[in-house]
Symmetry: C2
Subunit: 229 residues, 2 copies
């Protein structure tokens, strides 16, 4: 049995590439995104009443990963990237049907031309196709008693600092303050692949919003932003 | 853009028909279901480590509703069935792409022949095709601060009583005690369509597990089970 799903909307997001996207939603609350609904779903009627909800569930397709398919076992970053678990015991982005699910904060609804939902805390990369939007209902969706094995608590944050050059480059940007906060939240998640050892000599680059952020590790638990272009 | 999703598993559930299925998961915790994975997804490796999680997200297809399509506005039962809101501001089962999403409790994993997941608290009808399974992560998925407009709190429960005949019929059933609890939880949700007025003369019937349950309303807020076959 196969089911045909249509793209309802496209995510426009500060995450321009997969590298450094936080591994769960909500970890970088300053992350911003706009979900643009597509015809025939972009009628104001379709979102009437949505303004009464603070959070939404977004179901989407891991479209950049579909071609690579799936395997029965995956290596979750939280287990150091070297221990395997079943694909259904993980939220791996390489999974049967390639369905993603994220809870996001609804910041505003723009009905000027079609429908655009302004969101924060999302972990979807720019261009992600969205296949469903549902309101979050706290007494249904909240299970504070739930046990979650090796992901029982949020990951430890890295310390993030900025070299003077990077500080000056941010200060010259019209959105510098907001972007500094975003960069800090994203890099604190320890973006490098879990199986890689800390390489103090390596300079990483990541495209975030309209920036190209260059950073290096000062230690296993500390990152410094070197430059921003 | 269209995406082709495959059925990963089939839900075997105590809910034999749409009528009286609770309107959200978790409202009838005694509801039981077994999710049977289908080849090639029914390998024990695919669920390795899942036993460390107490709750799961199930993404599924509202397969009985697909043919009827969707409309931009729907009437949520919680608004009395006469006020309309946008389809994306509701969890209506008539929605673009027909995707459902429920958090369920994982009661056990049976690896004897393929993979079967024993679940409770589900709100899926028997035969529902499942398209994804993800572990529930409380610090990601729990948003106790979320605002949820007209669904800010669970619905008021009806009082449910059993006529002597029904009591005797349940006592004669090998699973009578468990089924009585299930019937009580399900009927307390006020199963009749929200737009219908209370009709004290009407006898309703619902297929639940292997039973045919007949009940009537004693008042707006009270139900009596008349007979069970």
């Amino acid at each position: 049995m196969r089911w045909s799903l249509e793209t309802l909307g496209i995510m426009h997001s500060c995450y321009q590439e997969k590298f450094a996207v936080p591994r769960q939603p909500g970890l970088a609350p300053s992350a911003y995104a706009t979900l643009e609904l597509l015809p025939p779903y972009n009628l104001p009627e379709c979102v009437d009443g949505l303004e009464g909800f603070s959070h939404l569930w977004i179901s989407f397709i891991f479209h950049q990963n579909l071609a690579q398919g799936w395997k029965p076992k995956v290596r979750p970053p939280r287990l150091g990237g070297n221990k395997k678990v079943g694909v259904f015991a993980s939220r791996s982005t390489f999974r049967p049907n390639g369905l993603g699910l994220s809870v996001v904060k609804l910041e505003g609804i723009d009905l000027n031309e079609g429908v655009k939902l302004h969101l924060s805390g999302a972990d979807l990369i720019d261009g992600t196709p969205v296949v469903d939007i549902k309101p979050y209902i706290p007494w249904v969706d909240g299970k504070p008693e739930a046990l979650a094995a090796w992901v029982a608590a949020p990951p430890e944050l890295l310390k993030v600092s900025f070299q003077n050059t990077a500080e000056l480059q941010l200060a010259a940007h019209s959105q510098g303050k907001r972007l500094k906060q975003l960069i800090s939240e994203v890099l604190a998640q320890n973006p490098r692949p879990a199986y890689q050892k800390t390489d103090l000599a390596r300079v990483y680059g990541v495209k975030l919003a309209d920036l190209n952020v260059q950073f290096c590790y000062l230690a296993d638990t500390s990152i410094e932003v070197v430059a921003i272009h």
